[in-house]
């Protein structure tokens, strides 16, 4: 048995590490490359009904502590992406997660239907939380538990047997309450968190926001503690598997998310800060860790930092 294998909503990932949506996610070939690097599942760029070119550049702005991104949901459209997914599936046995978004609640359902008419991904991920299209779409749906739940329901109604993960944002009073609403509406998994904010950086010489979109979602090392806490809160509140995402670049980062309650761990910005080797490096570390602790799977670590369990097993 592969000790790193995890199951998310009935789907087996050979490693808990998941390529997060929006990173190297536009083509079958780039997804394949990440799968070969050691990812246990790969997520496509979020796709909508129509092709979008996204915002002008700069769309991505690294700074010392993370990254701002305002790609603006550039994507070839679900129809095209269905072709890429099919090609990926022909070339790799790693599960592929298809990420979709809509400009309106109804569009989420349509996007799911259009995609699933052409291809059957291992999971569908519903991105209700993109923080960098506010000027165009208004607030992310994920700020509103009821809207997130309605979207979950609409997508579930079209998803048939394909399990549905809902991708949440921290930018709300309680992410756990939004997760609960989505769970009640039928979500099979929660992905948390999307990039945070959005944030802004200004060049003082030209006195302008640097991103063409002015603001962009904050990701990378800066948000790791926020992701750990989000996963912790969700794990306490809903019994769904969590794809914990945010700020993972080092092996210990992934371990923290698992101890907080994540079943799988998404990596986005870490592909930049840690290189594509990030997947292999964390896989080896986790395998060694299990070995050293005498564990045969990650099950015993999942959520192990929560008091109820940790008090039995570990004292200071």
């Amino acid at each position: 048995m592969n000790p790193l294998a995890v199951r998310v909503a009935g789907v087996t990932f050979p490693s808990p590490l998941v390529l997060a949506s929006g990173v190297m996610g536009l083509s079958a070939s780039s997804l394949k490359r990440v799968a070969d690097a050691g990812a246990g599942a790969v997520t496509t760029k979020s796709c909508g009904l129509e092709e979008r070119k996204g915002h002008p550049c700069p769309t991505l702005l690294p700074f010392e502590h993370g990254l701002l991104n305002a790609i603006g949901l550039a994507n070839p459209g679900v129809d095209e992406m269905a072709g890429e997914i099919a090609e990926f599936q022909a070339r790799s046995s790693i599960p592929v997660i298809a990420s979709i978004f809509g400009r309106t609640e109804a569009e989420f359902g349509e996007a799911a239907a259009r995609l699933l008419a052409r291809v059957r991904p291992a999971l569908l991920e519903v991105n209700v939380s993109c923080p960098n299209v506010g000027s165009e779409f208004g607030q992310p749906f994920a700020a509103d538990a009821a809207a997130s739940a309605r979207i979950t329901g609409l997508v579930k109604a079209r998803a048939g047997h394909v399990p549905v993960a809902v991708k949440l944002s921290l930018m709300c009073p309680s992410i756990a309450q939004v997760a609960k609403a989505c769970a009640a509406a039928g979500a099979d998994a929660i992905t948390a968190i999307n990039s945070v904010g959005p944030g802004m950086l200004i060049d003082p010489h030209v006195r302008r926001p640097i991103l063409a979109n002015q603001v962009g979602g904050l990701s990378g090392a800066a948000i790791l503690p926020l992701a750990v806490r989000a996963v912790w809160d969700i794990a306490r509140t809903v019994p769904l598997p969590i794809i914990g995402t945010g700020g993972v670049a080092r092996p210990e980062d992934a371990l923290q998310l698992i101890l907080a309650g994540a079943t799988a761990v998404g990596i986005g910005t870490g592909v930049y800060t840690g290189g594509l080797e990030v997947f292999g490096r964390i896989n080896s570390f986790l395998a060694d860790w299990l070995d050293r602790e005498g564990l045969r799977s990650l099950d015993a670590l999942r959520g192990a930092a929560h008091p109820a369990r940790s008090q039995e097993a570990h004292h200071g």
Binding site: M24, L26, S29, P58, G77
Partner: protein, 270 residues
């Protein structure tokens, strides 16, 4: 961090032609030949450009007008501020007895390569081609360089014809066969160079372009079909081995949405 944005004033502008200029900027970063920087025109956009030369305190980029961004950039004057970050990607290998083959604006990165080879006392031959004289940057400089042979399709300067016509001559004229062929220019030219190098069993490094947004390997925009290689990180200079895994040569490249335009009848997957 070099990948974060810094704005700098343009120090000097050299107008080679109305539609072709070199910008001299403060050296806030060090680039290897073939590496590129992202240039931000505040309020407009940000686009990739190769570094075409450097000095102790300056770096240069050479820009050809092809669309809205490059046209706005060519209107900039000394003192205007540009954002700069990089360098991105991997450059050419510095090899004695290199054969440089450039087409049009592709001669920009080769200029920094020639500078570095000269600095290290390494011999090279540089075949610099363009459709017409007006498309050749640093014409005066090239004409003075004994290692350079010029070609224009219309014969307006140098030998008439494409750089490929100079290929056999170049091989004959150099005492030893080139130890590395370095090419930059339009993709059909590059694929022809690749083919020729394969025929002559010569190692080759070629500079490709794809639509780029991030330059740091995240957005996925520049990933090549087949191997999934990211041109902004593992390129833009590719070796023959790197080119082999790629299945999209000859296809119209993916645009800013990530979608590949419908294949025109002429193009075929090699």
């Amino acid at each position: 961090m070099a990948d974060s944005m810094q704005t700098v004033p343009i120090l000097e502008v050299i107008a080679h032609q109305a539609e072709l200029k070199t910008f001299i900027l403060p050296r806030i970063l060090d680039a290897a030949p073939g590496q590129f920087v992202a240039v931000w025109l505040p309020g407009v956009d940000e686009k990739p450009f190769a570094v075409s030369a450097d000095g102790p305190e300056t770096i240069q980029i050479t820009v050809k007008a092809v669309g809205p961004f490059t046209r706005r950039l060519l209107n900039c004057r000394p003192g205007d501020r540009l954002g700069l970050r990089g360098p991105f990607g991997r450059g050419f290998t510095l090899m004695p007895d290199s054969l440089l083959i450039g087409g049009g604006i592709g001669n920009a990165p080769l200029r920094l390569l020639a500078q570095r080879l000269t600095e290290r006392g390494l011999r090279y031959t540089w075949l610099a081609g363009a459709r017409r004289a007006a498309d050749l940057p640093f014409l005066g400089e090239l004409q003075k360089n004994p290692a350079v042979r010029l070609f224009t399709d219309d014969g307006s300067v140098g030998h008439p014809g494409t750089v490929m016509t100079g290929w056999t001559d170049a091989l004959a004229a150099t005492p030893t066969p080139p130890r590395l062929v370095c090419g930059a220019g339009p993709e059909p030219m590059l694929l022809a160079v690749r083919e020729a190098a394969r025929l002559h069993r010569l190692p080759v490094e070629l500079s490709f372009e794809r639509y780029m947004k991030c330059g740091i390997g995240l957005c996925g925009q520049c990933c090549l079909d087949g191997s999934g290689l990211r041109l902004c990180v593992e390129g833009p200079i590719l070796t023959e081995e790197q080119m082999q895994g790629v299945t999209e040569w000859g296809l119209p490249p993916r645009g800013p949405s990530g979608r590949r335009p419908a294949t025109t009848p002429k193009a075929t997957r090699p």
